[in-house]
Symmetry: C2
């Protein structure tokens, strides 16, 4: 029996799945991302691929990798998450699997493919997938094609500049969307609100736990804490403002929100939609559907399967 | 002899040109845009097209129109500039010119095509054309294809939200790039600076002329006035910040700046490049070339010729 394999490589875990050539998932597995250089990680992926394929004949392999990826050359140019520079992922696997096509792309673009094939963006040629968690990434499709950019860096919507003199960003800039709306921003805003209100639940949690995390802000928010809610509103509001700008630029039919922050569900959607209503252009705002990712944390893995399948069908 | 005709429709003028099927320009003409409804304007275009074609056989017609355009349906959904809603431009001309294919697109996307075929973006698959004047528009190509969006509204980069509580925008939003960096913003910032410095040249000009315009700020800036320079730096800086975000999102090989503000030349480029250096991601910022439009105010007209030519070649 023939199969294809998709891999979603993250800084913490490597998720993998095998499917038949119709896209029916046969098996899934997750292993921790090993510490060490890229060789160690690539060998761990190799073992996972062999395990997932088993006795089946591997017809295509696709990987989603966090970082700047040149899909045509199968090259990871840079990954802050993995601490990689110029790692030839494609050729590593091509050497190991003879006559098996290997596809590689940025993890958020791959997750967008997952939504396109298996999730909320079926039959949608123009959509934005945004993943908001530790950072903010994006996979953008326009006219049915992913925005890859001249060197593979397309879709970095976490680095739209929204507050030029705002907090410093890991990218070297300041006030990027990511510094205002991702999980570390939620923790930071939570700390500020807790300081302002010593009778808040957030302040109590901080005193008990020693530090405020994004998860604590979310929890306090769910329990009705006003301070936590203020922090949440601010971060979710920035996400909405960033998305309003993107909606004006891309005029998408759908915006799909995934990642850890999307677990806040309707509370997040409410704030985002209010900001989009305020800031998007009329034509653009009226016709966009803003929804939560139905695939949740599986978007990247299913996207890798989708990438392998579309490559296999074209080959 | 066969010919193709391109039209650049603006709120003030209609520019037109005829070219042979190799793209060599044969003749150009400009007429004022008549006041009145869309029928009057379309008839004026009709007369101009017939005059430009003359005895030659018309093989294709293309028009750049300011507003939200659905190219597939040849429909102008909305144009604030012309005060049009749902005008079927394509079918108007198809009825008049039998068997002549008619192409229609947003004026900034058409101007981007002009740069692609005749100007600074030859052989470039990923580039951003930005036109900054009374407003700010954009034509974006990614992977060789224009960003049109689900309903023709793609490329509205003047409506990226950069200052959520900033000046109100014609689009109904607040703090869009256009409200911070286009000509009316330059005039507004000039007025503020003139008020702060009664010994400035700008203040003197304001007292003499009664009101400060963008052109006056530019002139005072050229003559070394510190107040005017402060206003210019602020507006050009916002343009640079907006472009930095777009560079992160699209990873273009080139950014081409046209429109009235581009007449400031190297002074504008200097400020924009400094902001991009500060705010763009390393990989993205290192490999982008930021230049002034070599076609200047002809980009739209030549773009219409390019659109007609590419349609003719494909037909």
């Amino acid at each position: 029996m023939d199969c294809i394999v998709g891999i979603d490589l993250g800084g913490t875990n490597i998720a993998g799945a095998a499917a038949d050539i119709e896209g029916n998932v046969l098996t899934e597995a997750v292993v921790p991302t090993p510490a060490g250089g890229h060789e160690v990680v690539l060998k761990a992926i190799d073992r996972l691929v062999r395990k997932l394929a088993g006795d089946r004949k591997l017809k295509a392999l696709a990987l989603g990798v966090p970082g700047v990826i040149n899909p045509e050359e199968g090259l990871c140019l840079a990954s802050g998450n993995l601490n990689w520079t110029n790692v030839p992922v494609g050729s590593f696997f091509r050497q190991r699997y003879e006559n098996v096509p290997v596809y590689l792309d940025n993890d958020a673009r791959v997750a967008a493919r997952g939504e396109q094939r298996f999730g909320a963006a079926k039959n949608c040629r123009d959509f934005i997938y945004v993943t908001a968690g530790t950072g903010i990434g994006g996979g953008i499709f326009t006219g049915g094609m992913p925005v890859t950019g001249s060197r593979g860096g397309g879709g970095e919507i976490g680095h739209m500049v929204l507050l030029p003199d705002g907090p410093p960003c890991t990218c070297g800039g300041r006030g990027c969307l990511e510094t205002l709306a991702a999980a570390p921003a939620l923790a930071r805003e939570g700390r500020l609100e807790a300081l302002k209100d010593p009778f808040s639940l957030l302040h109590e949690l901080a005193a008990r736990e020693g530090a405020i995390t994004a998860a604590m802000v979310s929890e306090a928010c769910d329990r009705g804490d006003i301070a936590a809610n203020a922090a949440f509103q601010r971060c979710a509001g920035w996400l909405g403002i960033g998305l309003a700008g993107l909606i004006n630029i891309f005029n998408p039919g759908k915006v799909i929100i995934g990642g850890g922050l999307s677990l806040a569900g309707d509370k997040l959607l409410g704030v985002v939609k209010a900001k989009v209503a305020r800031h998007a252009m009329r034509e653009q705002g009226r016709h966009v559907e803003i929804i939560l990712s139905p695939l949740r944390n599986k978007a990247g893995l299913y996207g890798a399967l989708a990438l392998a399948l579309s490559g296999y069908k074209q080959a």
